[in-house]
């Protein structure tokens, strides 16, 4: 019988929620890596039992964990006694070193500030090889491992795309979104706060900003700069990789030409500020956002937790409320905390900073909480299991 495995990263550990395709009864496993911040967990599309986790703390830094059994057991890849050229054990699965001259980026006050590695925000396993995985990090850069997370190499061409003009958002200068084009292995999209969206068409050697049409009048001195936009999240349907959806700091946007140009699709949303955006597994024009009141008040408008769905690719949105709290709700839903499964009746999942993980087994028509009381949720991914 098929089922789903929901991978939840929180401020104090990871949790794995599993269910059958009915998605009625859930088994909760965790906390894994108790007490550590888990910014992201993700599974390989070609080997669902291969999982990667980003574990970090202010005390002990970054750790990468890997599982080969769907999250039952974990290991630090390369943590064994194998030696490097210097005779020391490698232990390099948490070694993220920028290539070449470290360089500087723009700081909050407009001065230049050196790049400093802090943590991995996003892990994106390859669509074809379980040992290849990309890591989006803070301070913003893209790394790749081709040995199952045992060692990492930066793709430095990204920071050459006007990196000196990038600047941190309130959450840090993070590369938080990585999209792999299923029809073109050389094409990758990434998003960075606050730099914008970027694309490579040569497997990561060279990159260019793809922010034409974005407007950030209230955040930036210029209305439409080439970089500097605070992109919060990107989403794509695998059947149409040239169509991208974006939740920006303010505004929901759409591109029909792989990011070459964008236009706003916020339409009748009660607020066009928010963090995550997602696409229905079987309906490429059906998209989801969770409006948040403003950049100063990070909670739902009017204390009502509402997912908004557009079935027309944007502009016309409907509120989805059944089963969600409609009064006194002041949680946030972070950028990586919304995911969809690919069962016949598409499931939608999101986690809140209040520790709830909500699930809908009917494309968002109705919702129920799988768990109520986890630590603040940082990320949600879902695997559809055979």
């Amino acid at each position: 019988m098929s089922g789903v495995r929901v991978l939840v990263g929180t401020r104090k550990g990871a949790f794995i929620l599993t269910s059958t395709e009915k998605r009625k009864r859930w088994k909760v496993s965790g906390p894994h890596f108790a007490g550590w911040e888990i910014y992201h967990l993700n599974g390989s599309p070609v080997d669902p039992n291969r999982l990667y986790a980003s574990q970090s703390s202010g005390w002990f830094g970054q750790v990468i964990q890997r599982s080969n059994d769907g999250g039952q057991t974990w290991e630090t890849p390369g943590g064994g006694p194998e030696q490097g050229p210097d005779g020391m054990p490698r232990g390099e699965s948490n070694k993220f070193v920028y290539e070449g001259e470290v360089g500087t980026h723009q700081w909050y006050d407009g001065t230049q500030h050196p790049w400093e590695f802090k943590r991995v925000w996003q892990l994106k396993p390859s669509l074809t090889d379980p040992d290849t995985v990309y890591a989006g990090v803070e301070d913003a850069a893209l790394f790749r491992s081709s040995d199952g997370g045992s060692s990492w190499q930066e793709l430095p061409g990204l920071r050459a795309a006007k990196g000196h003009l990038w600047q941190p958002g309130a959450g840090g200068m993070c590369l938080h979104t990585i999209l792999l084009d299923p029809t073109n292995p050389d094409r990758i999209f990434v998003a960075i706060s606050a730099a914008g969206a970027f694309r490579t068409d040569d497997g990561g050697q060279t990159w260019r900003p793809i922010n034409n049409g974005l407007k950030s009048s209230y955040e930036l001195p210029e209305d439409t700069p080439e970089v500097g936009h605070c992109v919060h999240n990107l989403a794509m349907h695998p059947s149409r990789p040239n169509v991208l959806f974006m939740q920006k700091h303010w505004d929901v946007n759409r591109s029909d030409d792989a990011g070459d140009s964008w236009h706003e699709i916020s339409g009748n949303l009660p607020s066009d500020f928010g963090f995550p955006i997602g696409v229905h597994a079987h309906e490429p024009e059906t998209i989801y956002v969770v409006p948040i009141k403003s950049d100063s008040e990070h909670y739902p408008p009017d204390g009502k937790l509402r997912v908004y769905r557009s079935r027309s690719g944007g502009n016309e949105w409907e509120a989805l409320t059944k089963g969600l709290p409609q009064k006194d709700c002041y949680v946030n839903v972070l950028r990586s905390a919304l995911a969809v499964d690919s069962l016949e009746s598409c499931g939608i999942y999101f986690g809140t900073t209040g520790g709830q993980v909500y699930a809908s087994a009917d494309s968002g028509d109705s919702w129920s909480a799988i768990v109520h009381d986890l630590p603040p949720v940082l990320s949600v991914e879902v695997q559809t299991l055979p």
Binding site: A34, G35, W36, S57, G58, W59, F60, G61, Q62, V63, T76, G78, G79, G80, P81, M88, P89, R90, G91, E92, S93, N94, K95, V97
Partner: protein, 98 residues
């Protein structure tokens, strides 16, 4: 044998108990003990000190026999009680809430 006491999260990461015991060739210095910890438990590389610069992570402190060695040179010989295993060398994480 040198005894090294690790903080809770690093014990879990290395799958060890409150203390680990290590062989460290003389002269027994702060740097030599950290090298030995990382050699025996490679998963701890980068969690106590930086991979490349070997600088102590900001929220980590080193103590031996009541002395704070966090800011001294890494080639400082450790006290005899550490060398003989009477006292543990302590790797300590800063107290913080949240």
């Amino acid at each position: 044998m040198i005894r090294v006491a690790l903080p809770y999260h690093l014990r879990n990461l290395a799958h060890v108990g409150k203390e680990v015991e290590l062989h460290v060739a003389a002269p027994v210095t702060l740097g030599a003990v950290l090298d030995a910890v990382e050699a025996q438990y490679p998963m701890l590389r980068g969690t106590i000190r930086d991979h490349v610069t070997h600088q102590r992570r900001p929220f980590i402190r080193f103590f031996a026999c009541g002395q704070d060695l966090s800011h001294g040179p890494t080639d400082t010989p450790l006290p005899e009680a550490i060398v003989t295993g009477v006292e543990p060398f302590r790797v300590v994480g800063a107290m913080a809430g949240g």
